[in-house]
Each structure stands twice: as C-alpha cells, then as structure tokens.
Amino acid sequence: MFDMFDMDDLKKAIRLIPHAITSLVFLAGLYLAIFSNTSWFALFKSPSYVLTKYESGSVAIGEHMFTTYVVPFEVLSLVLLAAFVGAIYIAIKGWRRENS
C-alpha cells in the first residue's frame, strides 16, 4: 500500500507546511492592509498625456531616460561595471587557486 507513496517526498511536503502558513498569513496581511485602507477603485485612465506628447510609450521612456534621468543612467552604468568587475575578480581568484 505504502509503496505507492514516496515517504521522503511526503516528509518534504510536511516540512513545507509551516512556511506555507507563514507566507499565507503574510499575504493575508498585505491584502488586508491594501484593500481596507484605500479607496482607489478607479479604473486605469487612458495614457492621454503620454500618448498625446509622444508617439508611443517606449519613445516616451527613452526620451525621459536620456534627458531627465541621464545622470542616474550614467551612475547606473558605473554601478553595473563595478558589480561585474567585482564578480569577475571573485570568480577568477578561486579559479586560479583551483588550477594552480
């Protein structure tokens, strides 16, 4: 009878139950906080401002990114460069130690 079930899988599933309860309580708290305290049951407005000024949404995003937000864009490129250089440095250090 119990050959049908894999007991290890059952134990793994039982182990997940408190985590599931925790995250469901978290989700219920989020729903309660949002749906009870706010009253924006409004519909999405049509993007009138964006589409009258620009021909499409991506054009608007690109123009904002390269005019208003050009300094954060450049700072973000530096952040990405630093992250990549740091990650490659860490990876190469261990790789050299392994192969020497």
Binding site: L16, H19, A20, T22, S23, L24, F26, L27, L30, Y31, I34, F35, W40, F41, A42, L43, F44, K45, S46, P47, S48, Y49, V50, G57, A60, I61, H64, M65, T68, Y69, P72, F73, L76, V79, L80, A83, F84, G86, A87, I90, A91, G94, R97, E98
Partner: protein, 100 residues
C-alpha cells in the same frame, strides 16, 4: 481597462510567492530566484502606479530597478560560487561562517 487594485493584488501575490520560496528554500540558487520574484513584484507596483497617474517616470524607475536587480544577482551568484568552491555545497543550512 484593468483596475489598479487587480494589478496590486497580482504584485502582492507574487511577493508572497517570493516570501514562501525565501523561507522554504535550502538551495542558494532557489533563494536568488525568490529574491528576484520579490524585486519584480515591486516593479509591477511601479509600472501600475505609473500607468495610474499617467506619468512615465515610474516606468523609467522600474528600468533602473531591473538593472540594479541584475547587479545584485551578479554579486549574489559570485558569492555563491565562492561558497561552493570553499565548502562544496550551496545548501544554506551548511553556511554558518558568519555565525557569532
């Protein structure tokens, strides 16, 4: 026209799935995936309110947030790589080198 509450409910649900994965994961890769889920639920909120307020800045900020999430993933995977080379496993139960 989708009401903004539905999009917020989607973002909250994705965030709760990320929390569940975070508290129940034992593998480091699975933890990184859950972190990405939580960050992307925040991005859903940004895009929803950008559309709701008819302002394109929220979507530009969501793009910045995606790039920062990429940098975070790079650094996290480099750390996981070094942990795997030192310990031979990325099971987070075995990583207690920062324990006081």
């Amino acid at each position: 026209m989708i009401p903004v509450m539905y999009v917020l409910a989607l973002a909250m649900t994705v965030f709760a799935i990320g929390v569940f994965g975070m508290v129940s994961a034992r593998s480091g890769i699975r933890m990184m995936m859950s972190i990405e889920l939580m960050l992307n639920s925040a991005n859903i909120n940004l895009v929803a309110f950008s559309n709701y307020h008819d302002d394109i800045s929220g979507q530009v900020f969501a793009l910045f947030s995606i790039a920062l999430a990429a940098a975070e993933a790079v650094v996290g995977f480099a750390i996981l790589l070094m942990i795997f080379r030192h310990k031979g496993a990325i099971n987070v139960d075995t990583i207690n080198i920062l324990r006081w």
